[in-house]
């Protein structure tokens, strides 16, 4: 550090004054220097688990979010340098205004305008989930970023290149120093910072949440309440609890798109019994996250419900819940569909999509 503590009595006042001046000058020149960073100011962030939520599904004990780790994670999330040509940031396909999905795109277009085969999922309540991606390709909040970064149609980059680029930027040199004990720009710290940012991305203040927690702003009208009742009766076996998913992998009877032949969970496990199974998504903020299904084939919630009542196709791995004695799908009247949609709209969390904490301001 800069201040020499044992100035002994031999020094006269002139010398002390000179030293003080010198150190002031030195610190002015070195505002961005690696030596002059107040590490003490990096405080742990408070992560409140909403009372209607289950426990965390991820072990974050070795990577608890801190003020600076979160700030760093946010900066990385919005930085195109995580992609090969500098154009595609995480936020490119995960926009806050649509609950961190790629609104209006069935398949997100990534680097070189290449299209993937799946719809970008929402980023919210990540630490409450055990597995990520429609096929469960990752089960670690720290490691999941590896996938989109390396995917040749998404960001097409590797960690070594990213680290080299970040090391060129004094702002990152400073932030990594502040955020982590060893202060180094490494793969591990990069992944950890992104994980800290995603850990803090909790959406839990929709009208529905306020209703179940008996808070102000939680009054639901009769149609919404009817929708909730129908939903609990006919949908909540998979879209379970207040996360609105039981995190299982299911074949919901979507006719496979022959041009994609996406085998779903089988891609990860190698088990034929997992063919065409995809992760049950959370329905939080679902009114904002069109289009729907793993391949984004449905443009509206109305189409989704019409599919469940009329479009379910039989196959070897079709979920048994959607095959009741040969009757496929979920029986829903028009009135019930409208009520369900009214209810689903109460899952929109305006605080989340407008929270400046998650928006990157330069």
């Amino acid at each position: 550090m800069l201040v020499a503590p044992n100035i002994n009595s031999v020094l006269n006042m002139k010398k002390i004054l000179f030293l003080v001046l010198l150190s002031a000058l030195f610190s002015c020149q070195n505002d961005d220097s690696e030596d002059y960073i107040d590490v003490e100011s990096n405080e742990l962030l408070e992560l409140n688990i909403p009372s209607n939520f289950p426990e965390l599904a991820q072990d974050i004990s070795k990577n608890l979010p801190t003020e600076k780790g979160f700030e760093l994670g946010k900066k990385l999330f919005y930085d195109g340098r995580l992609s090969r040509d500098g154009t595609i940031s995480c936020a490119f396909c995960h926009e806050q205004s649509s609950a961190f999905t790629h609104h209006g795109h069935d398949f997100s277009h990534g680097i070189d305008n290449l299209a993937g085969i799946r719809n970008a999922p929402a980023i919210q309540n990540m630490a409450f989930q055990k597995e990520y991606f429609y096929d469960g390709a990752s089960n670690s909040i720290e490691m999941l970023s590896i996938n989109p970064i390396h995917n040749p149609v998404e960001m097409d980059e590797n960690m070594a290149n990213i680290i080299a680029k970040l090391k060129q930027d004094p702002a990152y040199v400073k932030l990594f120093k502040q955020a982590f004990e060893n202060g180094e720009i490494t793969t591990g710290n990069t992944l950890k910072a992104l994980a800290q940012f995603m850990t803090m991305m909790v959406s839990s203040n929709s009208k529905y949440d306020k209703y179940v927690r008996n808070e102000a702003g939680g009054s639901m009208n009769s149609q919404e309440l009817q929708g909730l009742a129908v939903f609990q009766n006919k949908c909540s076996a998979c879209h379970e609890g207040d996360l609105f998913t039981n995190s299982s992998f299911r074949n919901n009877g979507l006719p496979p798109n022959p041009n994609l032949n996406d085998l779903g969970r089988e891609v990860v496990t190698g088990f034929e019994t997992d063919r065409y199974k995809f992760k049950v998504p959370s329905l939080r903020n679902v009114a904002l996250t069109a289009p729907y299904m793993h391949d984004g084939r449905f443009g509206s919630l109305n189409s989704v419900l019409n599919f469940y009542s009329n479009g379910v196709q039989h196959s070897a791995t079709l979920d048994p819940l959607l095959n009741q004695n040969g009757t496929l799908g979920i029986q829903l009247s028009q009135e019930e569909k409208e009520a369900i949609i009214a209810f689903l709209k109460t899952l929109t969390d305006e605080e989340y999509i407008k929270n400046p904490l998650f928006y990157f301001q330069t």
Binding site: K62, E142, M143, N147, A160, G188, G270
Partner: protein, 272 residues
Amino acid sequence: MKFQLKNTIAILAFASIFASCSSDDDSSQNLVGNGEMELYFDNSINGDDLILGVSSHTNSNGETLKINKFNYIVSNFVLIDENGAEVAYPKESSYFVINEETKQTTIHLENIPSGNYKKIKFGLGVDSQRYLQGETAQQSFWDEAAANDLTWTWSTGYRFIVFEGSFTAPTLTGEKTFQVHQGSNTATDNYREFTVDFPNTARVRQTESPSVHFIVDANKILDGNAKVKLSEAMNPAGTSAAIMGGTKLISIADNTTSMFTVDHVHAGGAEH
């Protein structure tokens, strides 16, 4: 007073002679301090040298393999002494890459308590518990593993074994390539631990660092208790065999438990 002091000194002197005599006879009293142990992984195939890209080997499935790449991760070392007591190597430092191509085939375990070790327990790959504790727990092991082709990027996790080359099989025409990527996924935990006996004692002392010479039989991957045929894992085009998931990974995981044997242990300081 003077007399008393003399007496005390005499008694102390006697006692100390007595104590030092008895400790000379009791070898366990000598086990102070820490030493090191070297582990050398001698990659082979069914008793023959494994020479990448050169030697070929026909297994009991009737398939003839020429191996180009053989990398793997070993982890979570525990030493077991003559009394059955276990000394676990610190978990956060207990992940190592073995790479036949770059001849990264030796591991040094440091700060091992002096002792007479008879067995070693370790794992092939990365255990799911440690994996889920993240990069802090793994000490940024991902970078080293990635540099040795031991990571997946389309799903996240470590490849425990990368075993690649070309092969011929009675049911196929011509030579095909193969890729066996062993690892866990979010559905199956394919990490396995096993205990291997030392044929002679590994004496670790402050001044003695034994070297353990493992024979690693790559043949066991496909040709262990479970028989895994590459010819049954062909891609739709029929050009290449790929084993990266499904029940075959579970069979391979069980085969790996007999992949490692210790041929001999060199006493401290000797070269393997």
